[in-house]
């Protein structure tokens, strides 16, 4: 019996007595739960649900923040299709998602596998490697990034040692986006921690058995680790795709809020922010936000559908 099925049966056993509890007690538990939930629920309604509904309404209006919104029907959504910068921002965002997410997950998995070899001082290395994840989203790091990849930045000073004259990586439209991708990949700590936890769940006996059969390390990784880890990979993939779509801070700071040079780092969210708060097109920005929700929803749906073909749940 594998550890997982064992755990499942344990859960089932522990679950049985609960059904016998008196209904009386349960009902009062419900009330207590409601009371404890109340603060959270209040927060949900006032700071999440209400703005959500309001933005849905605003997406059908012309709203400049300063005067009251006017109903324009689907005009904003029609305008979206004719807006060159929307397409540019979608292109930038898509490029960012399809490059940074696989790269980041790849690095995270690789490091997790290496850390899982039972080395000494694991906790220390784990913390050190996790550190960039804590800082990566911060403004300070984004500013540091601008310094490293600037015309006279660290990278170019290093390249100069080899006689290579580098460009201003952040200020060149051909390279600016890649510096932000790199920044994202560098913050691989949180998927790495999740991978590490997943790896530790895989029972040793599989590896032992396959070793007796003469399987190579690579073969073990492909036939044992990957399939058993696939639910975790899937989880990380879904989460990281969603996060990547919402990337904002790095692009905002690295480009100084412009999405430049030449709109090469104009992330969808950055454009949304510019439209809403600088250009006073809040109705349009709300429409953009809802389109983003639909895009993320569709891609997540696609991800779930595709998962049928590669995620292995061991059932």
């Amino acid at each position: 019996m594998s550890a997982i099925t064992e755990l499942r049966s344990m859960k089932r056993k522990r679950g049985t007595p609960a059904t016998k509890t008196s209904t009386n007690l349960r009902r009062s538990d419900g009330k207590a739960a409601a009371v404890f939930l109340a603060p959270w629920f209040l927060g949900l309604v006032t700071v999440t649900l209400f703005p959500l509904v309001a933005s849905l309404y605003l997406s059908f209006t012309k709203y400049d923040l300063l005067s009251s919104p006017q109903w324009v029907g689907f005009q904003n959504f029609v305008d979206l299709f004719h807006d060159e910068r929307i397409w540019q921002s979608l292109k930038v965002t898509m490029l960012y998602v399809v490059t940074s997410v696989p790269l980041q997950l790849g690095v995270a998995l690789l490091v997790a596998v290496l850390l899982n070899q039972g080395m000494k001082g694991l906790a220390f290395y784990r913390s050190v490697i996790y550190l960039p994840s804590l800082m990566g989203g911060s403004v300070a790091i984004a500013i540091l990034w601008r310094e490293i990849f600037g015309e006279e930045g660290l990278l170019n000073k290093f390249l100069a040692l080899f006689g290579i004259h580098g460009t201003g990586w952040v200020s060149n439209p051909d390279t600016a986006l890649w510096t932000i991708v790199l920044l994202h990949v560098w913050t691989f700590g949180s998927p790495m921690i999740i991978f590490l936890a997943g790896l530790r769940q895989i029972p040793d006996m599989y590896y032992e058995a396959s070793q007796l059969d003469g399987a190579s390390r690579w073969r073990q990784f492909r036939s044992i680790t990957l399939p058993l880890l696939s639910p975790i990979i899937f989880f990380n993939l879904v989460m990281q795709v969603i996060t990547a779509f919402q990337a904002f801070t790095q692009a905002y700071v690295v480009s100084g809020g412009t999405g430049g040079p030449s709109d090469s780092t104009l992330f969808y969210t950055l454009y949304l922010y510019q439209e809403g708060f600088s250009n006073l097109h809040m109705g349009y920005a709300s429409a953009m936000a809802w389109v983003l929700v639909l895009i993320i929803l569709a891609l997540t749906g696609l991800n779930f559908w595709l998962s049928k073909f590669w995620v292995f749940y061991g059932d």
């Binding site: 009062s28 009330k31 207590a32 009371v35 109340a38 603060p39 209040l42 400049d64 923040l65 300063l66 005067s67 601008r146 600037g150 015309e151 460009t167 201003g168 952040v170 200020s171 060149n172 439209p173 100084g256 809020g257 412009t258 430049g260 040079p261 030449s262 709109d263 510019q274 708060f277 600088s278 250009n279 006073l280 809040m282």
Partner: protein, 440 residues
């Protein structure tokens, strides 16, 4: 028994939660009411004053507020200081939430935006004394006959030049009463060449629109006409962008990526501030900040002229405006603060030229001897422009939506300097996008 206790305990819990929630709400209400009730002392009123600026301005403005409160004991001023970069983003949100500060500093680009939406009060109908301010300066804050903003001080856009950079490159300083745009490009290229590339001739000028404004006026056009339409022709815009392309090619100015970086580094990272360039365009009141950065004295040059030098296109601009919210609950007190900022010698002595050369002529005369060298230079520069009749007229107040012009210009300029758009295509895109922004 035990059940009833636990029930009581539960209702106590519920009440606590409700009480907490209620105090939370009350807290919100209290901060909201703050404007009308004020803090503590009897009939003392609180007004909010919002401005943008650097740390030094935060300090000096606080001093002015202290002086104001000392002489107006019934008024408490709550400072709302922001940086320029997010000033209007935040002010927009405050205005949307009906929470606009009573007194705000306004900028050219947004004055019409706010005025046309009924957010600003007509200052002519308040007690603010405007008798010491030149009519032409009052005109730049007047829209449809209503005075929505009074210029704190005035500014001109001009070329900041570094005499030491010229000297090091062994290039003679241009005579700014006769030089033309071709001289400007030639001299800039010469500086780069003769300094062996250590110092650039000039910093790229086309990331923002003020030089285009001057350039358009030299061609007998205005960026925006008085009735709020684009007045500058596509050819003018194209030739303006063309100069940037040419100057990058001739190395008169840095490469596109270097230029982007320098632009992003603001005043402190600009070429003259870092000793890496002989010339750059700035507002005249930025001279002292630039001098402080560079560590030696800089000077101002007039805009180069067209071939016949008939018109330099220079214009006087409000460094910023003081405006009062139309929805202020204390319009009288708000007006008193504006009056103090504009007309009191006390405020003038603290401000000096930080908010432009003071528009109150008495205050201006009185502060002149107190100025540092850089400020004296810029004050004299403006005086000379007026005396030599270089500035002949003021430019119309830009229309609603013109706040976007800076961003549009910067974006299209990137396309131009990185060779993604020809100057002609760029000019067409510029006209199209600006038209869209101002709703034409």
């Amino acid at each position: 028994m035990s059940i009833s206790t636990s029930r009581r305990a539960r209702s106590v819990g519920l009440l606590t939660v409700l009480a907490l929630a209620a105090t939370g709400l009350a807290g919100c209400a209290a901060t909201h009411d703050n404007g009308s009730s004020g803090g503590g002392g009897g009939d003392k009123v609180t007004i909010k004053f919002a401005w943008w600026g650097s740390d030094s301005r935060v300090e000096s403005t606080q001093k002015i507020i202290d002086a104001f409160e000392a002489s107006h004991s019934n008024i408490h001023v709550e400072p709302v200081s922001m940086t320029w970069d997010d000033y209007f983003e935040k002010l927009n949100v405050m205005a949307a939430g009906d929470d606009m500060p009573d007194v705000v500093t306004q900028d050219d680009r947004y004055l019409t935006e706010y005025a046309s939406r009924g957010l600003l009060a007509d200052l002519a109908s308040t007690d603010v004394d405007t008798s010491k301010i030149d009519q032409s300066v009052l005109d730049v804050g007047t829209i449809d006959g209503k005075l929505y903003g009074i210029a704190s001080g005035i500014n001109v856009h001009a070329v900041v030049a570094d005499p030491e950079a010229f000297k090091a490159a062994d290039v003679a300083m241009p005579d700014d009463t006769t030089w033309t745009w071709d001289d400007y490009s030639r001299i800039a290229a010469e500086v780069t060449k003769k300094s062996g590339g250590k110092v650039y001739g000039v910093q790229n000028y086309s990331f923002i629109e003020p030089v285009l404004e001057v350039y358009a006026r030299q061609h007998g056009e205005e960026m925006f006409t008085p009735d709020g339409k684009i007045g500058v022709s596509q050819d003018t815009v194209a030739s303006w962008f063309q100069r940037s392309v040419d100057q990058i090619k001739s190395k008169a100015e840095p490469s596109a990526s270097k230029a982007t970086e320098v632009q992003g580094a603001g005043v402190d990272g600009s070429l003259p501030a870092t000793g890496k360039g002989a010339m750059a365009w700035f507002w005249s009141n930025q001279l002292s900040a630039l001098e402080k950065d560079s560590g030696h004295s800089l000077t101002l040059l007039r805009a180069p002229g067209d071939h016949d030098f008939s018109r330099t296109g220079e214009y006087i601009r409000a460094a910023m405006y003081y405006s009062v919210s139309a929805k202020s609950k204390h319009p009288k007190e708000a007006a008193e603060l504006v009056d103090f900022m504009l007309n009191s010698q006390e405020a003038g002595d603290i401000n000096l030229t930080d908010r432009g050369l003071p528009s109150n002529l008495d205050v201006r005369t009185a502060i002149l001897p107190k100025l540092g060298d850089a400020d004296k230079t810029s004050a004299k520069f403006i005086e000379d422009l007026t005396n030599d009749k270089v500035v002949v007229d003021s430019k119309p107040v830009p229309p609603k939506g013109s706040g976007e012009v800076s961003d549009i210009t910067g974006r299209i300029n990137s396309d131009v300097i990185f060779g993604k758009k020809s100057p002609q295509d760029a000019a067409k895109a510029w006209i199209d996008q600006v038209n869209k922004a101002i709703g034409q």
